[in-house]
């Protein structure tokens, strides 16, 4: 990377900072409106109680639990992508890690709210801390998710420190006092000294190693929420690894979409190229094939024995009421996208994005197929339960999904979208401090 490209890289990374043109505000307003609608639906539910949802005596877990698993899964994939790229020291990672880590935090913030939304008595959420019963998978969840939340924040923050220092040093007084104070405080006196570089590298290394077992534990624990019960289709030993793989798969797909979208919006085409998408697609394909294998292993062993508790669930999934969802997921949400992403040749980016979007939809359906049929199956000799979400659940789901891009663009309005420091490290380039004119001072654009 020559010095001209380097300057351009820094420029593009800083480009979204402080930017607030019409398009930006339109997007922010639209997303905020969706989030606000979600909030309204939640307040509506708070005032009236959970009967406003489609949940009932038989199917007492629905959209909220599905979404909790789904969003935390996406978060996990983001963190894993970044950690794996760091640990394998992939040279091409520099422009991607920040986007992946930020996606991880944003998705986790959304996913971690869902257990509270699902509570019948959210006013008593504190009881979890006052009277925890360590034998309960929900307490394991609480511990795992909160640890992981802290860790993923640190994982986002550490590599950000040198870039914050850069913002502090290069953004002129026009950045405003408050903002510059924030940069100064958050940069923790970073001067790029060798000693600081060493501790930072060590810190990031430790976090990259730590985040993997943490994320694995979060998703295993989420799986045990189901697997520790005696319900057909839930009580399965493969659930924890299956959930972990599902999370990584949907997470990598989400990273691909986020990267593709922000690359367009922030004009990062020069640095994030088809090559990156191809590599990410490889990751996606490897995980997808792995998931397919786990899933076949799960269903085959269960369907072969046809135990009394699992048989009705499997029948409902393969050929009963849930069959449309199942086959749409298997064909359209798993096999087809993998083929699309794996095809050689042109349109790598478009294919990666199509595949990812399908996989994300498919993985949501898969979570639905785990939660709802397992719940609806009659545990005694009765009818099947029924479940259809109401507008409250749908609105909250849409609102929470909109919160992720909203959090991301707000975040990148204040912090560089690509890691400058990391690029310098990877490229071994000289640290050059060019004085930037921020966008809100009327400059920054070419």
């Amino acid at each position: 990377m020559d010095s001209r490209t380097h300057t351009r890289y820094v420029e593009r990374a800083m480009w979204p900072i402080g930017r607030g043109d019409r398009k930006f505000w339109i997007v922010v307003v639209v997303l905020s409106a969706m989030v606000a609608a979600g909030f309204y639906a939640y307040i509506y539910q708070l005032q009236r109680g959970l009967w406003v949802t489609g949940l009932n005596q038989k199917v007492s877990w629905g959209f909220y639990i599905i979404n909790c698993v789904f969003f935390i899964g996406i978060s996990y994939g983001g963190a894993m992508t970044s950690a794996i790229l760091r640990l394998t020291n992939a040279k091409w990672r520099a422009p991607l890690t920040r986007l992946a880590e930020a996606t991880a935090v944003a998705a986790l913030l959304v996913g971690a709210v869902y257990p509270i939304i699902d509570l019948g008595r959210p006013d008593r959420a504190l009881h979890l801390l006052l009277y925890p019963q360590v034998g309960s998978p929900i307490v394991w969840d609480l511990v795992a998710v909160s640890t992981y939340l802290v860790a993923s924040f640190v994982f986002l923050y550490l590599p950000l420190i040198p870039d914050l220092a850069m913002c502090r040093d290069t953004l002129g007084p026009s950045a405003g006092r408050v903002r510059r104070t924030i940069y100064r405080v958050l940069a923790l006196g970073w001067r790029g000294e060798p000693r600081q570089e060493r501790s930072l590298a060590r810190g990031i290394g430790i976090m990259a190693v730590l985040i993997i077992p943490l994320a694995v534990s979060v998703h295993s624990v989420l799986a045990w929420l189901f697997a520790v019960t005696a319900r057909g289709g839930w009580h399965s030993t493969i659930f924890a690894p299956l959930f972990v793989l599902a999370a990584m798969l949907s997470g990598v797909a989400a990273v691909i979409l986020v990267v593709a979208a922000l690359r367009k919006v922030y004009g990062l085409q020069e640095f994030i190229t088809a090559k990156h998408f191809r590599y990410l697609s490889y990751l996606l394909i490897a995980l997808g094939v792995g998931y397919l294998y786990f899933m076949v292993s799960e269903y085959l062993t269960e369907a072969y024995v046809l135990e009394r508790s699992t048989t009705p669930v499997l029948e409902a999934i393969f050929e009963g009421v849930y069959a449309p969802a199942f086959w749409v997921f298997t064909v359209g949400g798993l096999v087809l996208p993998l083929v699309v992403a794996a095809l050689p040749g042109r349109f790598a980016i478009a294919r990666a994005c199509t595949g990812s979007a399908l996989i994300i939809g498919g993985m949501w359906l898969k979570r639905f197929l785990i939660v709802v049929p397992g719940m609806a199956e009659p545990v005694m000799p009765w009818d099947w339960g029924r479940y259809a979400p109401t507008w409250v659940e749908v609105t909250i789901t849409i609102g929470s999904a909109a919160a992720i891009p909203l959090l991301l663009i707000v975040f990148f309005r204040f912090f560089p979208a690509m890691s400058v420091h990391e690029m310098e490290e990877v490229e071994g380039a000289e640290l050059r401090r060019t004085r930037m004119v921020p966008a809100f001072a009327g400059g920054g654009d070419e």
Binding site: G49, L50, W51, L55, N56, Q57, K58, S60, W61, P115, D118, L119, G120, R121, P122, R124, A125, H127, L128, L130, Y131, P132, Q133, G135, S136, P137, I138, V139, L142, L225, F226, V228, T229, A230, R231, W234, M375, P378, V379, M380, P381, W382, D383
Partner: protein, 214 residues
């Protein structure tokens, strides 16, 4: 009927399946948490598709609902009855997922029954139920403590329900007292999903074709 009915081991012998069709008829009146005066919901106590059958909480010896509760709102009394402290329950419904018998219900809406000005609902007498928490059959411990029969046993005109004590080996339906172990043996009583190791303490007696003969 004398003495305490609910000792550590406790039992409900239910004339199931064959005569159980009758159960649905009285369940609404007998549903204790809603008070006898209240024409309360029959909840899940008795329901079915081909036939109705009573399904109280089985008061599992090794209760899965108890193990998964994150705040220990579900607990077991010394006598073996599983109770829910609705003052502590956070309404996560994990116990509903874990109960292999679907014995628990969630109070999605404001449950029937008015709050007594001086009396607060307790786990032993959870009336009225609290919205946003789970409830379940609790073998009417508030009645058995006083030596009374559970409301359902009391209300069943056909005497299809028995309650007894596994330690003292007696059971009664309010009309006749039987030797428990012998009664179970002679009537081929069975329990649901024994293989799960939950140790359910409710036995069912299958019909012997009475319904078809008549």
């Amino acid at each position: 009927m004398t003495g305490r009915l609910s000792r550590r081991e406790m039992l409900g012998v239910l004339g199931g399946i064959g005569t159980g069709a009758l159960a649905a008829g009285f369940a609404p009146i007998a549903f204790p948490e809603a008070d006898a005066a209240e024409p309360g919901p029959k909840r899940q106590w008795a329901q079915g598709n081909e036939y109705n059958m009573p399904r109280p909480c089985f008061q599992c010896e090794n209760a899965p609902c108890l193990r998964v509760c994150p705040v220990a709102a579900t607990f077991q009394t010394g006598e073996g009855v599983v109770l829910v402290d609705q003052d502590r329950c956070i309404g996560c419904r994990m116990c509903m997922a874990a109960c292999p018998y679907g014995a628990r219900y969630f109070n999605y809406n404001e449950p029937p029954g008015h709050q007594h000005p001086f009396q607060h609902p307790t786990p032993e007498h959870p009336v009225p139920q609290q919205k946003g928490t789970v409830g379940k059959c609790m073998f009417c411990v508030h009645r058995t403590e006083d030596g009374k029969l559970p409301a359902c046993v009391d209300a069943c005109g056909m005497g299809a329900l028995y309650i007894g004590d596994l330690v003292e080996d007696v059971a009664t339906n309010g009309q006749q007292t039987v030797r428990l172990s012998q009664f179970i043996r002679e009537n081929d009583a069975f329990r649901y999903k024994e293989e799960l190791g939950t140790g359910p303490r409710v036995y069912y007696i299958a019909g012997h074709g009475q319904l078809w003969e008549s």
